[in-house]
Amino acid sequence: MPRKRVRLEHAVEYLSILDEKGRVDEKLEPKIGKETLLDIHRTMLFSRRLDERMLTLQRQGRIGTFAPAKGQEASQVAAMAALGDDDWFVPAFRETAAMLWRGFPPENLLLYNAGYSEGGAIGEGAHDLPISIPVASQIPHAVGIGYASGLRERDEVTITFFGDGATSEGDFHEALNFASVLKTPVIFLCQNNHWAISMPRGRQSESRTLAQKGLAYAIPSLQVDGNDVLAVYAAVQEAAQRARDGEGPTLIECVTYRLSVHTTADDPGKYRDEEEVEKWQAREPITRLQTYLKKKHWLSDKQIDKLEKEIEERLDEAWEKTHERIESLGDPQMIFDHVYADLPAYLESQRQSFADRLKEGE
């Protein structure tokens, strides 16, 4: 009868293993082999340079609007490195670094950003979803994929990426609730990069952490330093193990920062201070990883220079290939392909009249 307290034992852990000065908490340090760490470093650096190259190409009018991943490379690459090829990857639209780790060729990303849907092609049997633009709308897909893995008795985990703004969307909440009730093997990875276009994190939600939104659905949830490769890797590895053990989903809030524009169509100067960016620049993930690798004597400045050169050459080659590809994609009739498995009669007739017009124009 009386008004009572319903006691909820909730707290959000914050995990940090490699700090911005390159110091490591050895008790928490995950076991990652040298080769894997060097691959992680290479992919992060490649993503950074690809972003820079694309920004130049966009300013020159050669490719269209895109969303740079700059500053978020650790959250993406370390997460994917903690999973296997058979695990499912469900991105939003800023996951360039994660896509590179999954083997998307840079020329495909360039082609897509140049306005050709061929660049978004997914190979048969690949456990990767394409770029998904409407905020949070990809999250329920991960739950469905995860449920199907369980029903088909496949040892697969699904990871989906989204930002801080996405946690305000209904899709996020419905998906988390669904996943929790059905105990699906899914990792929800929120990249809290502090900005949803012009909206700062503080105005997106009054919740002290975004991770705590998962606790409302009884999902184990934690915050990690999203610019710390070791912390992200450890958190995703633990979440994956939980999923494989049949214990259901995990929400990981990677606290990171969008060092660049939202997309090439906006000007952050209008809504945020340069000081804030500088503060986060000091916590930047690539330099931090390099410090760690150098301390271990697994990477030297000389090797970094060599790697930079290799990446530059690979990017030149990728842009060249993209050009060749664009030239071979002259026939716009492909817009009629893949709308359905088989082209229905009315679409065939629209395609035919389009083809006739193209012929007349020749």
Partner: protein, 326 residues
């Protein structure tokens, strides 16, 4: 062969497809223990278990979005929206993803899902329970849009929809669920999506309809035969997307006179599209302007006045006689 109503015929389709293909799963609100609010999924939980018959939280966005994921990972989800009036919360998943995934990935991922839902007025329901907004789905490239009219064709079309490699939105005329019975064969039967049927033959007038309104159209056609000596051909569209243009164009050219009947709103409705196509390719065969009998462009009224909204015999006959006398 058994005499079944439409709800039981749809249940037969689901049962047989789940029996035959273990990748078929059913999900929705109250589809398991309760067997669905219209009992279309009755008995499936007992037969196939809670892993394949998923009673979901009340979450239409997740239902549609999770179905997309299930389909991408090798299953064939048959997802129930409890009423079409609640499906709009899931609409963006259908438009943004189900419809586009094949195209976006250049065939890498496909979404062979069915989104079933009861639609239409006439059962004394609440607000949001009587709508007929099939156009939202029919207007969306990448989706197929099917509306059966009788128990037998509902069963055959649902089987085809489940086996179809593309996402199919399947509108079930709730006013027909228990309205009458029809012989439905036990053995498997399918009907090609995108193909209409001639529900009544005639050479004097073409009447085009689908779903619940087909039955009112057929009734009007019988009255015309008895009272006016006019033999109307009645075309049952069955699919709005793909639309069987060839069938109604042939009929219109033969009779020269056309009436279209649906309960969907008039403006930008299916009749508008059908009329446009007839004007584009059959204009010179027409003896009179095409007429349409439709729901009004108002909010669908609450049930005390829902029959005022729906095309009735008087409105259908007036339009038909108008076309015949023009």
């Amino acid at each position: 062969m058994a005499e079944l109503n439409m709800a039981d015929a749809l249940n037969l389709a689901l049962t047989q497809e789940m029996e035959k293909d273990e990748s078929v799963v059913v999900l929705g609100e109250d589809v398991g223990v309760d067997g669905g609010v219209f009992r279309v999924t009755d008995g499936l939980l007992e037969r196939y278990g809670e892993r394949r018959v998923i009673d979901s939280p009340v979450a239409e966005t997740a239902l549609a979005g999770v179905s997309v994921g299930l389909a991408i990972n090798g299953l064939k989800p048959v997802c129930e929206m409890q009423f079409s009036g609640f499906s709009y919360q899931g609409f963006h998943q259908m438009e943004a993803h189900a419809a586009r995934m094949r195209w976006r990935t250049r065939g890498g991922h496909t979404v062979p899902m069915v989104l079933r839902m009861p639609y239409g007025a006439g059962v004394h329901a609440l607000e949001h329970h009587s709508e007929s907004k099939e156009v939202f789905y029919a207007h969306t490239p990448g989706l197929k849009m099917v509306i059966p009219s009788t128990p037998r064709n509902a069963r055959a079309l649902l089987v085809s929809a489940i086996r179809d490699p593309d996402p199919v939105v399947f509108f079930e005329p709730k006013a027909v669920y228990r309205a009458f019975r029809e012989e439905v064969p036990d053995e498997e039967e399918t009907l090609p999506l995108g193909e209409s049927r001639i529900a009544r033959e005639g050479d004097d007038l073409t009447m085009i309809s689908y779903g619940a309104m087909l039955h009112r159209t057929l009734e009007a056609a019988e009255t015309l035969a008895e009272e006016d000596g006019v033999e109307a051909e009645v075309i049952d569209l069955l699919s709005l997307s793909p639309l069987d243009h060839a069938r109604f164009a042939e009929s219109a050219r033969r009779t020269g006179r056309v009436v279209i009947v649906h309960e969907a709103h008039r403006s930008f409705g299916p009749a508008g599209e059908i009329m446009a196509r007839l004007i584009e390719d059959s204009f010179y065969y027409l003896e009179a302007p095409v007429r349409r009998v439709t729901g009004f462009d108002t909010i669908v009224p609450l049930f005390a006045r829902e029959q005022d909204h729906l095309p009735d015999q008087e409105r259908i006959l007036t339009a038909a006689r108008g076309v015949l006398n023009d």
